[in-house]
Symmetry: C2
Subunit: 700 residues, 2 copies
Amino acid sequence: MKRILLCLLFISHLASADDGYRLWLKYNLIKDVPKREAYARSAQFIALTGTSPILKSAAEELQTGLQGLLGKTVPIIANAGNRTGGIVLTNASGADVQTLTKEGYKLASRKGSNITVSGKTDSGVLYGVFALLRQLQTGQAIDNLSLAGNPKIQYRLLNHWDNTNGTIERGYAGESLWKWYELPATVDPRYRDYARANASLGINGTVVNNVNASARFLTAEYIEKVATLANVFRPYGIRIYLSVYFPAPKVIGGLKTADPLDPEVKKWWADKTNEIYKLIPDFGGFLVKANSEGEPGPQDYRRNHADGANMLAEALAPYDGIVMWRAFVYKADPKSDRFKAAHEEFTPLDGQFDKKVIVQVKNGPIDFQPREPFSPLFGNMPKTPLSMEFQVTQEYTGFATHWVYEAPIFKECLETDTYVKGKGSTVAKVIDGSLHQYTMTAIAGVANTGTDRNWTGNSMAQANWYAYGRLAWDHTLSSENIADEWVKMTLTSEPKAVKTITDLMMRSREIYVDYNTPLGLSRPWSGVHFAPEPWQEKSVRPDWTAIYYHRADSIGLGFDRTATGSNALAQYRPEVQKQWNNPETCPLPYLLWFHHVPWTKKLSTGRTLWDELCTRFYTGADSVGWMQKQWAQVESAVDPVIFADVTGRLATQHKEAIWWRDSWVLYLQTYSKQPIPAPFKKPDRTLEDVKALSEIYKLR
Amino acid sequence: MKRILLCLLFISHLASADDGYRLWLKYNLIKDVPKREAYARSAQFIALTGTSPILKSAAEELQTGLQGLLGKTVPIIANAGNRTGGIVLTNASGADVQTLTKEGYKLASRKGSNITVSGKTDSGVLYGVFALLRQLQTGQAIDNLSLAGNPKIQYRLLNHWDNTNGTIERGYAGESLWKWYELPATVDPRYRDYARANASLGINGTVVNNVNASARFLTAEYIEKVATLANVFRPYGIRIYLSVYFPAPKVIGGLKTADPLDPEVKKWWADKTNEIYKLIPDFGGFLVKANSEGEPGPQDYRRNHADGANMLAEALAPYDGIVMWRAFVYKADPKSDRFKAAHEEFTPLDGQFDKKVIVQVKNGPIDFQPREPFSPLFGNMPKTPLSMEFQVTQEYTGFATHWVYEAPIFKECLETDTYVKGKGSTVAKVIDGSLHQYTMTAIAGVANTGTDRNWTGNSMAQANWYAYGRLAWDHTLSSENIADEWVKMTLTSEPKAVKTITDLMMRSREIYVDYNTPLGLSRPWSGVHFAPEPWQEKSVRPDWTAIYYHRADSIGLGFDRTATGSNALAQYRPEVQKQWNNPETCPLPYLLWFHHVPWTKKLSTGRTLWDELCTRFYTGADSVGWMQKQWAQVESAVDPVIFADVTGRLATQHKEAIWWRDSWVLYLQTYSKQPIPAPFKKPDRTLEDVKALSEIYKLR
């Protein structure tokens, strides 16, 4: 009888497959033996002078990293003495570190000596350790190291839009990481891994609760919970911040008002701030969404944003904390242009804010669209530190099923020239303070993390967390280089696969724009922000409809923001206006942001608007097919579980890209009255079909 | 200079610590070498006759288990031939398996021969494999095995109250396991581990969506997603079911009505059912919450529950699926007693339901309280199969911070005598069909699973999933034995620690009842169902207030359900009434369920009602301190991560137990006007303090 050996030893999720939890801190054994041995010869010990919690974190992380990469336990010793061939961590103060800023680091090595990782502060050493590990993880030489790094921005934060009940507003990767019902007594080990991941990027602060804030976080009960998180984050150089609910003095303080000029209100905030600092001595400060999308604020008492922000700044005066006051405001006025709202409301207040206040501005004037022109506030608040708010979570970029590498979005904004002090006045120079000599500088990323095992739902979205953090540290890094680093640390070191994947990443955002919002279209989404619904014309507010933005009619498409329209362009400097205010020369990516263009208008591509739109929608959706093919090529170079997961997501992305393309072209066709141009095939479904499909995703 | 070796090799969450993911299927290497070697001698191969997916799952699971337990790869071969010393899996049909029912299994072994795992069906073999693994995991001998197992109940289901947006109604362990946005293309490996865990208990069905159902699940878009889950579950003998939104024919079918007697509506359901079966040939059927807590249903069209259920049964007639129609109904009538509602509405319909309908009844008449008398429907629907709905998730038992082992709750109900056919007519005999010769039998557990790494938030709550599943298979198992098994498989085999932990588990429910709802108190919770708020007197419905249930006044406490009151007791048989209708002899756990008792009334304990209440509240809260001490003793015997996690949760439980005790006694004292009896100290806070504390947890 034939005995067939069914060797089915099954690869369980429980087994050794890569579930993505370790992010870019994988520390897998380096397979290149000569390289590994060379590294090992330079890493025979870790000498640590000092015993502070942050230095301890640095040494432990280095030990953990070396354990994984080199496959051996490198001892931590108190002092190198005369020994060589090791790594020396020092919080130094001599000439060596003169060029460093507070959190900067320096890596230096010479053959026959030690590798030194130095900083002016413990945090600097910690960042240096991660920089050294990054060298090893990406296979760089460490023989003649001479690397220094200084952060260009002072406050580098994540903003978590996490609610008390564990849900995350615009989260697509599971529940909130913070288990409020279990804190303070139960400390999820994951909190520490969160801190490690952020510290590895140089992120030094985190706002743990939603900007649509609950007053819970200012109660003694919750401050104790928050303090427990702060205790976990502190050894990683991360300070904790809270979003505050402006009427908290009424809601939990029992006062009759929350008027920022009321003495009792001021006292309440001062006392509350004092209470927080007793438990969290390095508390970072407050983030505020006020008089925005229905949230209460100082205007409820006929005060302005500066009154509100300054009152909180006063409460923080005795401490090191700051106020981050959001400029995301707009009125439900059908006649106005939402584009202009923040500029109109905030520029008159320039110079009126307390020195502890930073005004936090979203990159674009609307709301985290796949492509937006930069917010006209940048450059126009010279006396008020402005911080940048980027969105890392993919609210408008396909949730967890669309692969969109966001570094190009961030870079595009940072590198745009505002011209406010002549050529070269980039947004980055506003944000890093060099343009207006801001006394404080800050940047915030709306986090894409959740309790999904791989943190970000789509494991490719880990790259967006990574890229945000790296750019927050140094906005001059290129998107390509960041992608290359991330791929090597996270997915594979196989050169061809690295190239293929970084190439995919670099093209991903333009592909998404093409099938979703080409040529400067924006905000076709209703409440769910998933599938575009360009037909959406009813909402409780006019500026929450799709037609408000695209303005399709029988003549053409797009929002006229020139002098003949809303004249929002006037909020920019003339040099910027010049680039965008002529529909003949306006770069195509911004065309419909600023112009209502006839369907039959011939564009610089030689095609009419309608034909160009169709070309973009179709080639965008087709390009997801290209992404699938490219991804298929890296199968042998990446972990099988991650490979399968991304393969599945790309299949969904392709299906949805075609659906979303169809939604747009079928809807716009009712205005353009033109056929789908060759060689593209008209959708094999009707406008009613795609509408019905969208409706499914809105059923409770 | 002194060199101190700081050997800080840090135990990362990333490393080998036990994160609880593997549940009771840990398969850690057996440390007792002689035992392991003895097992290994009997497990030299796995012989598998047959190639069905379920048999393949069985063989793979056995191989995985043996790999872990014995530390060696046991080959799977097609046929044992003359070989001995192995394990033979067979779907048999001979005399051997005559005593088995469809899903039953038999384990047999003799020295010098093979271990045989047989069943009449592939599922039987699968369950037999898990039974064999359980023998090994709990250290039992396998030399002279002769074990048979037949499930006492036919349909053994989990009910997931999971929403389309990933939230879980009454979930305390993260987000929904089902990633609807990613399905069908992305298949989370966790789906399979979910199926494995359930199959190990004999659970053979799962309802994947909330009973407050979305019509999404009946769209083609979602049926495809559901079918993908069904494909993962099928090789583990698990069928998929859907909760349905009764007005779906209107909402997604475009019909004008959802009247169950309307021919178009009937046709719509028939077509929809056919569509489902095309993709899911073994689809299990529909679960329905209708005309209950605001959900629409047949009564909206002047039809009754039977009309609604029978219409769906008719749609399922060509297939193997069934209808599970929930009996959880009650009217917002301040004069009626919610206790009586389900009996009043359903018993008149006995005999009117289609043969494909099971009526699903919660264990008690109100709603999953820490202790309830059994629902008076049990025994009173002899012509209608009734299924039991237990709640595994801890909606009313302290979420994820209170350790409550629920087997005693389930057992207490199952073993209660309804007396409907004389003494011995237990609820279990209703449910297993033996009392009324039901043609179908079913049981459902409202799941406590979520995306938390350890599945259940509190890792001790894994035992509730386990216990529910084991009792669903065999309700005669004792709570102690189930606890003993679970501890050995999940936490430790160290005998003293096993004893300590099982003892903790066995006492945990009474302790919780003591500090929360002693002597038959119930439902002191407002919407959040977290901290008791006995003062809560306003709601949109009278039966959603706390005072509706406890009826505290200057005279006494409790709900008179005797003939002088609501007379709900009349819904039970005289023998049951006799036990409960005399306040002098009514067992204390049920006292305030049925009687309004004066504060000064002396109870069988020799204490007055007030003093007895205080004694229970105080000793209950104190006992959590005892739990902490007991748990501290097992530190060396359990994994350090799990130990720390449970330690933290117990600290929170203790704090909350004292808070909740204080809420009750301070509030009731305003009626009893009596002091806290010695030796208990009066709370060191006021009623206003505890009210304020509760309010915190209701802020958005």
